[in-house]
Symmetry: C2
Subunit: 302 residues, 2 copies
């Protein structure tokens, strides 16, 4: 199975792909929309893209794509954002005069770099992996280092000078695998369901929607507003709940929401990250088609 | 009264300042944090900054500042985002070969520019106003145009070649005036109250919080998640409700939320945009101090 991912090789997204699909073939794309377009065209069976970070929150470009695309989330994976300073083997920390990375990574590592390399020039580039590649391939790489994912050091033959240099030691990014499939992965004992809800007239109605989950003891684990673009203050909501769409209470709640007249779109049911595949208890035949409840949005923009 | 604003002169923020405080002195700053720092230092009495756009949603840098700063929202104003193509007087649309603007503005006007000026080179600069200024001040400005706010044409002596060229004709940005004051503006008949709530253990508790408003017929007009940064899936929420903090039901709801153990911080009560000052009915003595309910967050990070 071929997975599109946000490249180039050596990004945190590639690290996520290796976790979510250890045997999967990866194909790098320069942007999230390009990776998802490859899935829509059928060039790749699925794509792995970043959805949310513990420091920065949701990833806007992925949210926009999930709103507009007829794609489903089929898996999630969390990857620690461990920033590593790397250079060509033989380069000492003392000799580093220039540091390359993505602007967000330079920002996250600004304090460490200011303390340890106060004289070094910081140069923003397109991605952490591009920084590592440039250090590896530059004709003259004396004194040049990159801040990137540990994976990038292996891929580009660089040596680690320091690791865990980000401001937030425990920073984590959540990635999702996205595919055109209509049938969610089989139910386990620990699943998550993602929905896109348009409450219509203001978020006041959102309370009625959330109550449909609470009254059935369904935990709401995430709730994000996203502009509809129609007018100021008009938002739809990404809602993650615990449980699989095949669980009767989840199914009932989603039907009840559609009954409220709110646009509700099913984005996927998938195992919650943290369970290894061998721990998952499949309660239905693997890959068996699931007849989805009638929750396709009556509002085209939901 | 001196207002810090996101400059340079001629930005949409300056247009907002002219609407919210027609007699106020403006002082431009290069970034939102710099403008708010000027207020914290006491160099300016208030600042006008963008909070939310009908197409892009909330403005991250302003949200971050409101989380960390001990500042209150004292007014709001909405400004239509009308993009105008402008050049030195005498320049015809046919002769435009280069268009300067902020990347977001170029993005919003991409379709119009592709149709009308397919050969023109698009060059991103720091702000729409900086684009107008560069066109006005360049030694050789033949064939150069800027996409900026209509206000910028007046300020920099440029002529409008086309207006309303953005993709979303009705796009609107909401700006807020922010000040260190502890006393919100006096109550009118149409106010809004902004709160920052940390529901603690997951957004499930958010339903209990929202119910405190619904059960008192208080309309929730906005709800935005914002990462606490502590761990993946940990969010606080910006909540806008209708009504002034002095209204007994609002006051009771906010007290009840504090009683739920949720961190709730008062961000301000202010007249809802759309009322002209002379229409506002002040129901308390203007500027009279208001004793705030005990809603300062028990959670430092709320």
């Amino acid at each position: 199975m071929t997975y599109a991912y946000l490249g180039p090789e050596g990004t945190f997204t590639q690290a996520a792909l290796r976790r979510v699909a250890p045997g999967g073939q990866g194909r790098p794309f320069p942007t999230v929309p390009a990776a998802l377009d490859a899935v829509r065209r059928g060039d790749c069976e699925a794509a792995v893209v970043p959805l949310e970070n513990s420091v920065k929150g949701v990833v806007p470009v992925t949210m926009d794509q999930l709103v507009s695309a007829e794609l489903h989330i089929t898996a999630e994976v969390e990857v620690p954002v461990t920033f590593t300073l790397m250079a060509r083997p033989g380069t000492g920390l003392d000799s580093v005069t220039e540091v390359l990375s993505h602007p967000h990574a330079l920002d996250q590592c600004a304090r460490w770099l200011a303390e340890q390399l106060p004289e070094a020039r910081l140069r923003p580039v397109d991605s952490t992996a591009a920084a590592a590649r440039e250090v590896a391939e530059a004709a003259s790489a004396a004194g040049v280092a990159a801040v990137a994912a540990p994976l990038a050091a292996d891929l580009y033959g660089l040596a680690s000078l320091a690791t865990g240099i980000g401001l937030r030691a425990g920073a984590v990014t959540r990635f999702v695998s996205v595919a055109p499939a209509w049938f969610p992965p089989a139910r386990t004992w620990l699943d998550r369901t993602s929905l896109l809800v348009n409450p219509g007239d203001g978020p006041g109605r959102l309370v009625d929607i959330l109550t449909e989950f609470c009254s059935r003891d369904i935990e709401v684990s995430r709730l994000h507003s996203w502009p509809t673009g129609d007018r100021l203050g008009s938002y739809r909501y990404f809602i993650d709940i615990d449980g699989h769409i095949e669980n009767p209470p989840v199914r009932e709640a989603v039907s009840a929401i559609a009954g409220l007249g709110a646009g509700a779109r099913f984005l996927g049911s998938y195992p919650r990250w943290g369970r290894r595949p061998e721990e998952l208890v499949h309660t239905g035949p693997a890959g068996a088609p699931v007849s989805l409840p009638p929750t396709r949005s009556p509002h085209p923009g939901a």
